[in-house]
């Protein structure tokens, strides 16, 4: 598929997580594990705090994009809110899960909050909700890729409108490529709870796809 031509320029969330957890990227200095960096940051070393935030930032940005969309006008604000919240939550980190999971969990919470505020504002001032912006293509791309991108954005938008727990489970599993066990770790719930959320989310998703003009033409109406 042609969209694969773009892949060398990007690193998927899954690859990023794997690299970070293995301490293989250059961002955490000298292959230091993320938790070791967190330990230094907890001791109040300012350079370690900056390094830690830089290390988790790509995952934070991916999580924001998954919830808001890649071209959302408030994406940078969402990233900023999440980073500040992660920084402030650092003293409460107890090494009971990976710091990356901790950061992604905080990002989901803050971004949900931002999204809710934006929807309230849009409703109050009768603005067009940013969730209904057209597709967020990054540049000129081939027609079939554009169609896929448009459909995937429609799917993301529908997923993000599901009840929060179901939306998180689906976005973590599909958009951020976490396994079910990893999604459970991020959400701090048992694996079976994630499975239930995925099942309920997919049930809701199916009903919404049937009502979506873009997606029902391609994926709906088969039942």
């Amino acid at each position: 598929m042609r969209q694969h031509e773009r892949e060398p320029r990007t690193m998927s969330h899954l690859a990023l997580v794997r690299n970070l957890e293995a301490g293989q990227v250059a961002r955490p200095s000298a292959g230091a594990a993320l938790d070791a960096l967190a330990a230094r940051a907890l001791e109040g070393q300012p350079e370690a705090i900056g390094e830690l935030l830089r290390a988790v930032l790509p995952a934070v940005r991916s999580a924001c994009r998954a919830l808001l969309g890649a071209s959302h006008s408030d994406l940078e604000d969402a990233v900023q809110d999440a980073l500040i919240a992660i920084h402030r939550a650092l003293p409460r980190y107890r090494f009971e899960c990976s710091f990356l999971h901790y950061a992604v969990r905080i990002t989901f919470r803050t971004t949900h909050g931002l999204r809710r505020r934006l929807l309230i504002l849009a409703d109050r001032f009768r603005l067009s909700p940013t969730d209904q912006e057209p597709s967020d293509l990054r540049g000129p791309i081939a027609a079939d890729t554009a169609v896929m991108a448009e459909q995937s954005e429609a799917l993301r938008r529908i997923m993000s409108q599901l009840p929060r727990a179901q939306a998180e489970a689906l976005l973590l599993h599909v958009a951020l490529e976490y396994s079910i066990a990893e999604a459970a770790a991020v959400c701090e719930v048992p694996v079976n709870t994630i499975k239930t959320r995925l099942r309920l989310g997919k049930d809701s998703l199916r009903r919404r796809i049937e009502r979506d003009p873009k997606l029902s033409r391609v994926y709906g109406g088969k039942s």
Binding site: M11, E43, P46, I49, F95, Q151, S152, L155, K202, S223
Partner: protein, 311 residues
């Protein structure tokens, strides 16, 4: 759920093959597994859409080449925005709260048991004189506290040997009220509670150097007071944050020798100080002591990680 069950056959509803979908999305599914998934997606538009669009969606949220510039700016802004409520500041606040709570409890218990004479109605309690922490520090109290801190003579000398040997109010309830003669030779207009409160207020307002001076003064002038006993843990933490691991270790050692309600934190602080000093053997012993005493400690994971590294 009832509505859902009516809408589609049972097999297509409650049994979305999550594991098969995951394998297919990771491109690790076998032909047989793909065939099985295919049978499900004929009936399930949700799984069909996720299977077809999942990879595109994942690539759209992935790291992009121009993210790095935005990342640098975002981190700088986050650090700047958080500075007013920095994690270390909050940690310091936590220490202060723990220490204050411990002190209040200890003093109340000592009074109850008759260890410390209750203040007479005509003599106001020392703690009543303690300034309450304002929600936002105002200029006037801050200036007054800065004066207090500046007036305190900085002495590097630790508390007297007598102070180290005597039992702590926190650790033991058999401490007699300190006679005024042991309070040092310099005239002291403030009580131990006032000094303790002033030091904590300085710490809360980020005036660490002056807070350290005031804690030292408290320990020097009122070495047998309950406030001084508690202050060893708080001061140790402050010193460690400022990079003076040797002095921090000394404070933690003195707290650990007597014990007290924040012993767990003091043991962890002692181990961190030893780590900073590069004393691996003693650090290992310190983490082991923490785990032996508090096996379910919040620091247990870190202790085990360090022990594994030091092995």
């Amino acid at each position: 759920m009832t509505q859902v069950n009516e809408a589609l056959p049972r097999t297509a509803l409650g049994e979305h093959p999550h594991a098969l979908l995951e394998l297919a999305l990771r491109r690790t599914a076998s032909e047989l597994q793909l065939a099985e998934l295919g049978r499900h997606t004929v009936a399930c538009s949700a799984c069909a859409a996720l299977l077809a669009l999942g990879p595109t969606l994942a690539s759209k949220v992935a790291q992009a080449p121009n993210d790095e510039t935005r990342d640098r700016r975002a981190v700088a802004m986050a650090l700047s925005a958080s500075r007013s409520a920095s994690p270390t500041g909050r940690a310091r606040l936590g220490w202060g709260l723990a220490a204050s709570a411990a002190l209040v409890g200890s003093v109340a218990a000592a009074e109850y048991l008759g260890v410390i004479p209750r203040p007479s109605p005509t003599q106001p309690r020392e703690r009543e004189a303690e300034p309450k922490a304002p929600a936002m520090p105002t200029a006037k109290p801050a200036a007054k506290l800065a004066e207090l801190g500046a007036a305190a003579a900085l002495s590097k000398a630790p508390a007297s040997a007598a102070g180290e040997a005597e039992p702590s109010l926190v650790g033991s309830q058999s401490l007699p009220a300190p006679p005024s003669s042991v309070r040092g030779s310099e005239p002291e207009s403030q009580s131990s509670a006032e000094l303790f409160a002033a030091a904590n207020q300085l710490r809360r307002t980020g005036q660490d150097a002056q807070a350290i001076q005031t804690f030292h003064r408290l320990q020097r002038v009122f070495p047998t007071s309950g406030e001084a006993a508690v202050s060893h843990a708080t001061l140790g933490s402050l010193l460690l944050q400022r990079g003076d691991a040797q002095a921090a270790l000394s404070q933690f050692d003195r707290y650990v020798a007597h014990g007290g309600p924040v012993l767990e934190e003091a043991l962890a602080g002692r181990a961190r100080a030893l780590a900073r000093l590069g004393d691996g053997a003693r650090e290992r012993g310190a983490w082991q002591a923490l785990l032996a005493r508090f096996p379910r400690s919040v620091h247990a994971a870190r202790a085990r990680a360090r022990l594994a590294e030091l092995r």
